[in-house]
């Protein structure tokens, strides 16, 4: 005979773990409800069984990142060149993630080109240049103050003539509540389309894994201006759990595709739902 009730203490601890992992109150309560319901429906025999059910419930809230766009670097790409736009707020880890992606695609045998479309921040180009050299891929840029859309047009054109497989576009950090900066992104999208109508094929929103509830607002606004197809969750080598992506998944149907786990070029991993949820619940180190 299994149990159909979950004791208060367990639920309270669960609430603390989830809220403490930046999952947010609403989403935490919905998880608590879901597991309470499920226990009632199916009953459980042991603590392990309850935990397994819990993990499944949370995993279900996260979209499968493999669904629409290839996530694995070896996978064939649907277009050539395949244009990936990388966006996000200031300091989230965009440039470093671009470098890591370039390195991984290159390692998987693809021909990569990077576009330095952050023409605003001090030494953005110099930073990206060092990374591009480390990844061993060419960088297209026009220097500080240039029009980022025009850099993207150049890079895409150059990718077509060089027969590149992937174009990675690094953009300037921008806060999602600044409409003129968000319009600039929309313009970059439009200009990329002039050369390749389906471009960008992917738009990755980079989220700092230490971010709290504001990440939902970031995801909401970025999806309003550009067609975000997935998330990169960075800085997970720290102590933050990045639980806010559960709320984002729930509200905006955005899959997490990659996670950043350090400052080195090989510190990027494919997102693994099961492992993420285990770490979220503190079941694993």
């Amino acid at each position: 005979q299994g149990k159909t009730e979950i004791d208060e203490e367990f639920l309270e601890e669960l609430e603390h773990i989830l809220v403490g992992a930046d999952v947010g109150v609403e989403t935490t309560l919905s998880i608590v409800d879901a597991i309470t319901e499920r226990a009632k429906r199916e009953s459980y025999r042991s603590a392990e069984e309850l935990n397994r059910m819990l993990m499944e419930e949370i995993q279900q809230m996260l979209l499968d990142s493999g669904e629409h766009y290839p996530i694995d670097f070896d996978a064939p790409l649907s277009a050539k060149p395949y244009v990936i736009l990388v966006v996000g707020v200031n300091g989230a880890g965009k440039t470093t993630s671009v470098a890591k992606l370039a390195y991984n695609y290159e390692k998987a045998g693809k021909k990569v080109i990077i576009a330095a479309a952050d023409t605003f921040r001090a030494a953005a180009y110099e930073q990206l240049k060092i990374w591009a050299d480390r990844a061993g891929v060419p960088l297209i840029g026009q220097g500080q103050g240039a029009d980022p859309a025009s850099v993207v047009y150049d890079a895409v054109s150059s990718a077509v003539s060089r027969n590149s497989d992937v174009v990675l576009v690094d953009t300037a950090g921008r806060l999602h509540n600044k409409s003129h900066l968000m319009e600039e992104l929309a313009k970059i999208m439009r200009v990329a389309k002039k050369k390749i109508p389906e471009a960008p094929h992917e738009v990755l929103l980079v989220l700092d894994g230490t971010t709290g509830q504001n990440a939902v607002s970031q995801a909401r606004e970025f999806t309003r201006f550009v067609n975000v197809t997935g998330l990169v969750l960075t800085k997970l080598d720290g102590t933050s759990k990045g639980g806010i992506v559960l709320s984002i998944s729930r509200e905006l149907n955005l899959p997490v595709k990659y996670i950043g786990v350090g400052e080195k070029i090989d510190d990027l991993q494919l997102f693994d739902r099961a492992r993420f949820v285990e770490a979220l619940l503190g079941r694993q180190e």
């Binding site: 300091g91 060092i130 509540n177 230490t210 709290g212 102590t239 933050s240």
Partner: protein
Amino acid sequence: MFDNLSDKLEATFKKLAGQATINEINIGIAMRDIKRALLNADVNYKVAKKLVDDIREKSLGEQVLKSVSPAQMIVKIVNDELTDLMGGEHQPLNLSPKKLPAIIMVAGLQGSGKTTFCAKLAKRLKKNGKNPMLVAADVYRPAAVDQLRTLGEQVDVPVFSIDEQDAMKAAVKGLEAARLAAKDVVIIDTAGRLQIDEKMMAEAEALKHALKPDELLFVVDSMMGQEAVNTAKAFNDRLDFDGVVLTKLDGDARGGAALSIRQVVEKPIKFISVGEKVDDLDLFYPDRMAQRILGM
């Protein structure tokens, strides 16, 4: 949806209006609203719990129970409590007039806004009649030195750097250079680091011991979530910093992390960073921050 605590509380009390008096039970419901508002603003859940317990205590006083608008009374209590926790008055930089140059060291997590802040502070000090120098002691991040140099040019403040991957050497030599050039303030930018990165934390600690800064400032992103507390605590345990700089407040984050940090490490927030440009620096005002966290 309500995102304003005061609206939310009004609604809660309206719903309860049929029930003759405001009592412990319906105060409890209001407290739940307050706790949620704090959590939605990224106040750490332990800090929020303690805060709500204090607010409950105060709200059970006669005044609120008999008040015609208990929601307003409670909002005022919450607001006062938060402002109080934020540290009351604004706290200025404390640069020793005797020691020349005065030394400011800046530390924090990756991407929090340290380098940008260093340039902003240099500009501000210069405007106040100081003669500052910037020192690039981030020897790891690609183009960190170039970034500081570019910003230094923008604010017209010299930047010292070396060509070796040795933060200590960069800082110590920078200090020497500043003395030689008769600078009265040195601002030392350091690399971003995680509080669990032992090697990097040891580096920061060693820098502090060697430099003996007048002001060691911890820079933190206002968008940060629940771990802000542990991060700040770990940095404070190692570095015993003097103040906090809260960045990216030009965004729409509530910034509850500020409250948690203030509460846990008991160090004043000295500056806020409100944009990417070198002029986007402000002093910190506790009452404004309290209102922002509450969405007022």
